[in-house]
Amino acid sequence: MTATMRERFYATAAELVESDGRIAVVFADIGTGKLGAIERKHADRVVNVGIREQLMIGVASGLALTGFRPIVHSFAPFVVERPFEMLKLDLGHVDVGAILVSVGASYDTNAAAYGRTHQAPEDVAVVAALPGWRICVPGHPAEADALLRAAAQTDERVYVRLSEQSNSLARPITTGRLHVERHGRHATVIAAGPLLDATLEATVDLDVTVLYMTTARPFDADTLRASLTGDLMVLVEPYQAGTSSAEVSAALADVPHRIAAIGVPNVEHRKYGTWQEHNAAHGLDARGIRGRILRALRDA
């Protein structure tokens, strides 16, 4: 069985710590079992701060200020939302880099069953509200691995959003670029991260261009403009609907266009269950995505 993004992350983080003395890992009790061995071996730069997420970000800042490249890890609400001001100030305003690696995404890795407390469909929009962040939304464990390794080579502020959901095949992605999955004639569809497979199934008999997005910020306006087909843009994002609408609008400021933004609605969704049930409820399975795209094409 193929390792999940999360499992792959723990192995890669350990490998990076072993191979690169600049790499530090800071976590807040999430991942203790998987990071324990590397923590015991490299206790000086693999640090579990306990359930203290504000400190987790502050420590990452301090490590960066002393020459390390910190990887910070927790569930999405605890790495993005609870310490949000620390992201803004300790990293952004102080102006140092770190790699935040979250699990749970909008509602997977048990977050669906936990309920709203652990669900974070707003995470990408929240990070994107701050300047200077690279936001990665891999759709396959191998892509997550490649994006993490690329981030480790820089000093940027990077958010890597891991998901339990995965496409069946990894694409040959390049950090920061949209991948052209196929060319069509009537519309341009951008599928983000693990929703590519469902989007391809939804559009299998539709004559549309499909672009695959694994870097949500900075948004790759160049590839979009070079691949643009028709005046209808469809965004399919596994997080809050419309998160990238403004980026698309800015990229196409001089081009008449319409946008259909498919994603998780911004509502207080008091449901448990599984990520599959949440996807179906929000129209983020192949059937739901197809229905939205067909309606948008009819409205053209």
Binding site: V49, G58, V59, L63
Partner: protein
């Protein structure tokens, strides 16, 4: 050959603070920290303007970024910034804002102003310096009211467990916390494994001694008591 500048001393700090005109100077806050910051830069810190990039320099973090006039005055007296720069305090294009920014002033270690950020960053710095086996130490200044912010207590608890003996937190206590600290501020640190010393925050010899207390294996907290905030 570089011009030799006359050395500025403690007696000059009042004049240097007066140069920093602005609408919002947080004067009581600025004055409460004056003696602690002076003693640090004059007698304790191993740092200098020409060591801004030295990985083994001591770090001073003004977590309580409010009222940096005393900080800027000391930096000017010690040659980190020019005296003329003080006159630009708070202007649109000045490097000296009402809250300090490390990206605008070489020698300032962090950008601060919102309360409750410096000590967490200081813990990370202390971890990083320890990992590098650096002799450098981290001194973080907080205010007694700043300790209301819960993030400080995440840092205090963890620093004690991590035995960060290269970390010093100096809490300037002018009793401005709305609900105070029953049992004393030092007790909060001591409970988490820090060594603690409480001193007169205006007595330079007392302050210097407090920073030099032997504290093997433990972070150190200095509570510097000054006059109550008016």
């Amino acid at each position: 050959m570089a011009a030799i500048l006359p050395a500025l001393g403690y007696a000059d700090l009042g004049r240097l603070m007066d140069l920093q005109l602005g609408d919002e100077k947080h004067t009581p806050s600025a004055a409460s920290t004056l003696d602690v910051i002076w003693v640090l830069y004059d007698r304790v810190l191993h740092t200098a303007p020409d060591r801004a990039d030295d990985p083994d320099r001591d770090r001073f973090l003004l977590s309580k970024g409010h009222g940096p006039m005393a900080y800027y005055a000391v930096l000017a007296a010690k040659g980190f910034i020019t005296v003329d720069t003080l006159r630009t305090f708070g202007r649109y294009d000045s490097p000296l804002g009402h809250h300090p920014d490390r990206n605008l002033v070489p020698g300032i270690e962090i950008s601060s102003g919102s309360l409750g950020h410096g000590l967490g960053i200081g813990v990370g710095m202390a971890l990083g310096l320890r990992a590098r086996r650096s002799p450098a130490r981290v001194f973080c200044l907080v205010g007694d009211a700043e300790l209301d912010e819960g993030s400080n207590h995440e840092a205090i608890a963890f620093a004690g467990r991590a035995q960060l003996d290269n970390l010093v937190c100096v809490a300037v206590d002018n009793r401005s916390s709305s609900y105070g600290w029953p049992g004393g501020i030092g007790a909060r640190f001591a409970l988490e494994g820090w060594s603690t010393t409480t001193v007169d925050g205006r007595d330079h010899a007392d302050i210097e001694r407090a920073f030099n207390v032997e504290r093997a294996g433990r972070p150190h907290a200095v509570v510097a008591v000054v006059e109550s905030k008016a």
